[in-house]
Every structure is written in structure tokens, then in C-alpha cells.
Point group: C2
Chain length 460, copies 2
């Protein structure tokens, strides 16, 4: 029994590609043996084949594609990372690509098309049957990153006056059904969705029950122009499994299922994570090296400007630094603590804005809370650092100066960490993308100015 | 028609709580008018009521709970953030809590129990009917954060020799079915799952078709002891909708559905984001202020130690700093650029480790790639900074020194940004939690040492 075996092997299945499998695959590629490669990959999931492709070097990848060639199917194409998809598609024989895309649901074809140049797009569109081509073209007419791009146009609908029996008869008679569907959508005479029933409730109901009586409370539709990130958030918040997509006339144009929403949610989280670290969101390990250099350069350049600004502040105190070199030794500590405290607050704020936990309703309370946290930690580290400074340099007033600077810097870190993301968000700028440099500028400038300025007044 | 109205209001529904609704809610609370509050919240989703509770201040929250009291249901309790759940449960009359938890599936009850003290746990367990109590207690016997805690014990199973007709008859006769189910699980005589069919395929098949013939290729089970984050990753990778959970004897003990996996995936992403920023993962806007202070303090303290280490490096060059104050002005720039470049690489590495894109298979290639990116950007910023330094201070050799320091620092930032997460991961330590301080230490120490050390050799 195949299934029983799968259970026995469950831990291996969960380990995905084992190192033994890797050895067999690499050996097959080394020997240029297409048959051995096919055998090695026979029971491997498309997602894992995509992983293998991503982890190979660019040259190995071309060799893999040549050897595996005609075995490529739509699932593998739609699983591979967009950064290498174009390379794989170009290396494949055109008829293999054509065959592969014909198997896919329209949303997966759209996903592949989005990353191709015009030439590749045209070829794939021509490969599709006319129905599918129309579905894909109509999806492509919605803006990038919209619900219209994410949806599959294949839906399962029945008239809203259908009974359970009529619905089951309709499904049994259907020549074709989508690979995945979880609801039967009810539509009115104009093609507008008016409710949906889960398959579980329909299966469990008597044949004469009307579907309207089984329609779920959770029913809601989304406009095809809605942002896909917003759609993903709604799925997660309201525990939706599928959501009908409508056009301006409120007519049903497709349906988004939770598995696609889950992928978007994961991508959005990755985007925020990388943006906060100053990495452009397209970044992946298989990007071309120059793309990576350029992506990182931009943010480092912005950081350079803020660092120079901080240095200008320092240069205002050259006399003090010459008179007391201990200031030069200690000043990076103040700036570093400020930068880190600012990053903590900013990250919490950016995440809370993304999940809508931080709103106009509670912004003021969150702000005063963060300010208090920053001040308390500023006092704590002020005490610690003044002890360190006194012990190290034996100058009591220096200890007092660094304590005061620490409180001011950590309080300003908290303030800027919450206020700047809020302002950016309100101005329609993604706070994950732009908060970092602003917050660091504030904490650096305040840190150096407070420490050196106080030193100049108190010590010299 | 109720549904048609919902469509008309779709943009408002998607906006969730409007500011008009907020005003009505706050006015009802001000007036201590339970009826007005109930009316205002009549059509509001449980997830939105939970959001309201989270955004209120602690005092307002108590008042809200008092007024809304008996309207609290299980859905609201399971939607509210764990940081305020205990407060809400304590403020509610016990019979309301008892009534609310009785409505919930076992996984939701487990989720609530996990965050309560022993007293609260006992009370809730006593409130459940004996079947549910047993299901919850058995789930609680699995480790925290495991598949066993995430699963619901309510499953829909049929013997593996059932036909479509027998299955439908069984479902129609069933007195009770879970609120959400997407597969019928086939079990053998020992209660071990051997396959599953999607409801869609069952609905569309003739009555005499055997379920084994409809079983999905994607069928896989997971051990109840598997980590929930791993489970979520598998759902996302293999596009699963539900996954049967088995015990050591491979017997079915429950099922995990994609909506719960999606929540875990989102939480894990949040955890990584916050950990990288040095915020402990339990952090939320409604945490008690002292918990927040303490959580932030720990990481800032670790950062203080690395900052002091960097200052010790600086203090080795006190003579040089006294002789040339420009060094003190410029040195934070080198450290800042190193820290930021290190954070970029580290964040990409930590994310790639979490998604299994970075493996033993490609670690060496990724490392040499990052080293090249770091060196190229080091050269670029070396050129830029030497121009800035020459223009600012008019000392050509100082320009040469900062250029060299920049290359060394950015290359070491790339190296440490990839090597340290890899080492931590291999040592079984979460790289998101611990990489930051290590990487900053390396970039600070290298940055200051390279800049001041080169200056001491070349300039003085």
C-alpha cells in the first residue's frame, strides 16, 4: 500500500531532500545520465525539485535543465523562485514549456508570466488554449500585486436557487472542475456572488435543502483591484478559506484560495523583514551578483549620508575631543545604544502598523508607553555606564555626563522609533522601507550632541 | 437580501472598524449603556471586537468587559491577543467564560488554556463536557509549540473501504461535524490514516466510486511532536489544506487545518522580525510596561557589552586620536557602514535559513557571493569616503586610510553576516535571536581597528 509506506517514511518525507538523494542527483548530473536523474527524482515533490534548482550554481542549473528536460511540468515551473525562472524557461525546449503551462490553473500561469519579458509572455500565451488564454489575459489586465492577479478565474458556481441535490448532480455531470475548491459560490442572474456554502455542509445536508440556507456567515467578496497584501491579511484575520473576487459591476471574476493568500502573507513578512534591514525586497540568494550589489548600495549610501551628518555633529566638538580623548572613546557607546533602542521601538511600530494593531485610536497611548520604556531603560543604562566611565577614567563628572546623555538618547530613540513610522505611514510611504535611516539619524545626532555638548558645558 | 447588502458595503467591511463606529462604541462606554454597546457591535466580527479590546486602555477594557459581559462568546475569547486574554477572562463572570469555551473546537480551547494560570485552566476544563475535556487534556499532554497542541482532535474519518455513497450517507447521518473540514480521512482497522479525499472530488464522483481511488497524492501525515513552525512551513511549501496528525503508533489523533498553520506562519515571521531587532518575541503593544522594559533591557545590555568592547579598541589608539582629531570625527562612519552592511547580509542569511533556502549544499557558494558583494561595495564606498575625507580635512593619506578601512570593514561585515548565522544554526541556537550582537561586535571591532590601526601606521 502506497499510503502506509508514506507514513512509515514520514520523518524522511519531512526532511525533504536528504544528503543521500543529493549525492545521487549530483552523480547523475556528473555522469550526464538523464535516466538516472529521472529515477532519482521520480517520487520527489515539485516544490523540492524547485528547491534543488535554486540551490544549484547557474552552470549546474543549465545542465540539470538539459538532462531533465521533458520531465519538467507546470508544477515545477510554478514552484521555482522568480529569480531563476527566466533562466530555466529559456533553457527548456519551447514545446516543454508550452505543454507545462497548459496544465496550470490561470493564477499559476499569471504568476509565471509576470516575471517574463514580452517575448516569453507572448510565447506562453500562444501555447494556451483559447479559453485559458482569455482567462490569463483578463487577469493580467488587473494591476500588479492586486487581487485580480492573485485569483484563479476557474470558479465553481451555481444559481442561488439551487438545492443540495441539484448542486451534487451538477458537480457529478461537470466535465471539468478546478484542482482545488472549497466553496460552491451562489450567483444571481447578473453573475454577482450572493453567498457561498462550504463543501462540508453541502455534503452533510439532505438533497432538498436550499444552498442559501447553508450559506456561510463569513461570506465576503473582495474587489479585483484590492492590494494582495491586504487580501492576505483579511484571510488571516477572518480565517477565510476562499474569497470570491468581483469587478466594478460586482460580477464574479474569480476566486482566491487560502493557499495563495498564505504565500502572499509569507512574502509580505519577508519583504518587511528585509526592508527594515535595508535590503530591497527582490533580494534572493540566487539573484545576479550585480543586482545584489546595486540593491545593497542604495541603502548603504543613504546610511552614509546620515553617518556624515553625525560626523558633522562630532566635528563641532573638536576642541573638546582634543582636550579629553576619553570622550572619543565613550561616544560610540552612546550612539550605539541609541541606535539599538531606536531599532527595537521602530520594529515593533512597523510590525504593529502592518498588522493594524497600531492605529489612530491608540497611537498616543503607545507613544507615551514607549517613551516611558525608553526613559526607564535610559536611567538604567545611565547608572551602569556612569559606573563604567568612573571606573575606567576616574572622572566623576564624565560619569554624570554619560548618564545624562544616555537618558536623553534612549528617550529620543523611543520617541523617533514610534513617531517616524507613524508619520511615514500617514504620508503613504512604507514605514518598513524608510524608517531605519531616519531613526538612526535622530539617535546618532541626539547621542553625539547630548554627550559632547554636555561634556563641553560640564567638563571643560 | 443580506448578502447583496454585504457586497454593497464591501469597502466598509474591509475597512473594519470605522472611526464613526469607534465614536459610537466610546460613547456607549462613556454612558455606561450596555444596550447601546451591544447594538453597536451587533454586526461586528469577533476578530474586530478582539481588535477593539486590544486598542483600549487597560481601564477602558475592564469597563468594556463589564458592559458587554454576557455577549462574550468563544470566538471573541479565542481572537483576543494572549497578552490581554487573562485580564479579560478574569473580568468576565465565570459562567460566561464557561459558556463561551463550550462552543469552541478543542484546538481553540487549548490555545486559550496555554496562557492561563493553573486556577483558570482548572476552571475551564471543568466547564467542558467530558468528551471535550478529554480531547483538550490529551492535546495539552503534547509539548508546547507542537503539532499536537495546534491540531483539533475533531476529525472526519471513514473506513478505507468506503465508497462515495457510503461516505455521503455517513455524513448526512452524522449528528455533529466540525465547523471546518476539507478532507475525509481514510483510516485502517487500527485507526491509522492511510489517505484522504478532498470534499470537492468526493462531491463530484459517482456514489459507487471507492474513496481510495480518490485519495490525493499530496497526502502526508505529521507526528504530534513535530514543531508547529515546521508544520506551518510544510503547509506553505506543499500547498496543503489539512494534515492528519498521528501519535507514535501512527494512529490518527487529530488534524491541522491551513487556517491555523497560516496563523503560526505569521507568528513565526513576526518572531524572527522582532528577534532580529532585539525584541523578545512575546512583545506586543498591550504588554505590561515592566515586561517590555525588561525584555528590551536584556538585549540592550548585550549590546552595551559589545559597544564597550569596541570602545576598548578605540582606547588602544588614544595617542593617535589626540594627535589627529579628524580620526575621531570619521571613525563612527566606518563602524556605522560596517554595522549596516553586516545587518543586510545577516538578515538575508537568517531568512534564508528559516525558509531552508540556505543549506549545507549552497553555503559555500552563498558565502563567496556575499564576500564579493561586500568587497565591491567596500571599494565603492572607499572611493566615495576618500573623496569626502580629502575634501573635508585636506589630508590625502587620511583619504587613503579610510578607503582601505572601508573595504576591510565591509568585507568582514559580509563574512560575519553569513558565517555567524550559519554557525549558530548548526549549534542549534536560533540565528535570529543571537546573530545581531555577534555581527555588530565583529564589524565594530574590525571597523575601529582597521581605521585607527591603519592611521597609526600610515599617518603618524
Amino acid at each position: 500500500m502506497q499510503q502506509a509506506e508514506q507514513i512509515d517514511d514520514v520523518t524522511e518525507v519531512l526532511d525533504e531532500i536528504t544528503s543521500e538523494q543529493w549525492d545521487v542527483i549530483l552523480a547523475a548530473m556528473e555522469a550526464e545520465d538523464p535516466q538516472a536523474l529521472k529515477t532519482a527524482l521520480e517520487t520527489v515533490h515539485a516544490a523540492d525539485i524547485a528547491d534543488i534548482l535554486e540551490q544549484l550554481s547557474s552552470d549546474q542549473r543549465d545542465r540539470f535543465v538539459q538532462l531533465y528536460g521533458s520531465e519538467f511540468d507546470g508544477d515545477i515551473l510554478s514552484e521555482i523562485d522568480e529569480s531563476i525562472r527566466e533562466q530555466v524557461i529559456e533553457a527548456l525546449p519551447r514545446e516543454v514549456v508550452a505543454e507545462a503551462v497548459r496544465e496550470l490553473d490561470s493564477d499559476d500561469v499569471v504568476d509565471i508570466l509576470e516575471d517574463l519579458e514580452q517575448d516569453g509572455q507572448d510565447f506562453i500565451l500562444q501555447s494556451l488554449e483559447s479559453d485559458d488564454r482569455e482567462a490569463v489575459q483578463s487577469a493580467m489586465s488587473w494591476p500588479e500585486g492586486s487581487a485580480g492577479r492573485l485569483m484563479q478565474s476557474e470558479t465553481v458556481t451555481v444559481p442561488e436557487d439551487y438545492t443540495v441535490g441539484e448542486t451534487i448532480d451538477f458537480l457529478r455531470a461537470a466535465e471539468w472542475l478546478p484542482a482545488q475548491f472549497y466553496h460552491i459560490i451562489l450567483v444571481d442572474l447578473e453573475g454577482r456572488p450572493t453567498g457561498y456554502g462550504t463543501l462540508g455542509r453541502i455534503l452533510a445536508a439532505r438533497r432538498d435543502v436550499h444552498l442559501t440556507d447553508l450559506s456561510e456567515d463569513s461570506f465576503r467578496t473582495v474587489s479585483a483591484t484590492e492590494d494582495e497584501g491586504e487580501v492576505a491579511r483579511l484571510f488571516n484575520k477572518y480565517h477565510l478559506i476562499s474569497m470570491p473576487v468581483v469587478d466594478e459591476a460586482e460580477k464574479l471574476v474569480g476566486v482566491i484560495t487560502i493557499d495563495d493568500a498564505m504565500i502572499v502573507l509569507d512574502e509580505e513578512a519577508e519583504e518587511d523583514l528585509l526592508r527594515l534591514a535595508g535590503v530591497s525586497e527582490e533580494s534572493s540568494l540566487s539573484d545576479r551578483i550585480w543586482d545584489t550589489v546595486r540593491g545593497r548600495f542604495v541603502w548603504l549610501f543613504v546610511n552614509l549620508l546620515t553617518a556624515i551628518l553625525a560626523s558633522i555633529v562630532i566635528s563641532m566638538f573638536e576642541e573638546e575631543l582634543e582636550a579629553m580623548v576619553a570622550l572619543a572613546v565613550l561616544m560610540p557607546i552612546v550612539a550605539s545604544m541609541g541606535g539599538n533602542a531606536g531599532t527595537q521601538t521602530m520594529t515593533v511600530a512597523v510590525r504593529a502598523l502592518a498588522t493594524r494593531e497600531l492605529t489612530g485610536q491608540n497611537a498616543r497611548r503607545v507613544l507615551s508607553r514607549e517613551l516611558m520604556v525608553g526613559t526607564i531603560n535610559g536611567l538604567a543604562f545611565g547608572v551602569i555606564m556612569s559606573a563604567v566611565a568612573a571606573f575606567w577614567f576616574g572622572v566623576p563628572m564624565l560619569a554624570a555626563v554619560i548618564a545624562m546623555a544616555m537618558v536623553l538618547t534612549l528617550a529620543s530613540a523611543a520617541l523617533s522609533g514610534i513617531v517616524l513610522p507613524l508619520l511615514l505611514d500617514r504620508a503613504g510611504i512604507d514605514p518598513a522601507l524608510a524608517s531605519g535611516p531616519f531613526v538612526t539619524t535622530v539617535t546618532d545626532v541626539v547621542g553625539f550632541f547630548a554627550f559632547l555638548g554636555l561634556a563641553s558645558v560640564v567638563l571643560l
